[in-house]
Symmetry: C2
């Protein structure tokens, strides 16, 4: 057993990406942000589908279409493969914990 | 966008199982309990691996080996295929929201 909110350093100079489960067809990943945006340049353009939920803090996702979606605690979103998107804001004061499932 | 904590009835006469994502190789499911245990008789004996996290409330899982594990908010667990287990307790006063990924 482990806890999704544990092992979060108080200082986060950059985002943390951690694999929880990885198989040929699946990746379960924890992402922890604190004010960061990503990717540094350009857009995520993933070959997998992604289901993502915010478990603490908040994040704002922008699609290349211009649509912006704010995800707060418990909010989840499907991002289809090759739907170009990026994270344009995360909570500066508390850690944003994302749980992302790529499949 | 949707929220994992929304659409929870105040009365839960039985557990709620809801598919969020289903593909050939993956199921993401929300389970909401309020005092229930499951399955009604016997043990879960699943052909898939399961990764499960408790997002609110708590639940106690017992393995057929006798090991019992209490999962509180944010705690997660891997349950391998065919590891027989059951839920022997969930919080009676607040909804236990489980997010389970079968793969």
């Amino acid at each position: 057993m482990a806890n999704i909110f544990s092992n979060i350093p108080s200082e986060l100079p950059s985002e943390i990406f951690e694999d929880i489960v990885v198989t040929e067809n699946l990746k379960i990943e924890r992402i922890v942000s604190k004010g960061q945006t990503s990717p540094d340049i350009g857009w995520y353009d993933q070959s997998e589908n992604e289901w993502v939920i915010v478990l603490s803090g908040y994040g704002v996702i922008e699609y290349i279409t211009g649509v912006k979606i704010t995800l707060k605690q418990g909010d989840y979103l499907h991002i289809k493969a090759h739907e170009k998107h990026r994270v344009i804001e995360t909570s500066p004061d508390e850690a944003t914990v994302w749980l992302a499932i790529f499949y």
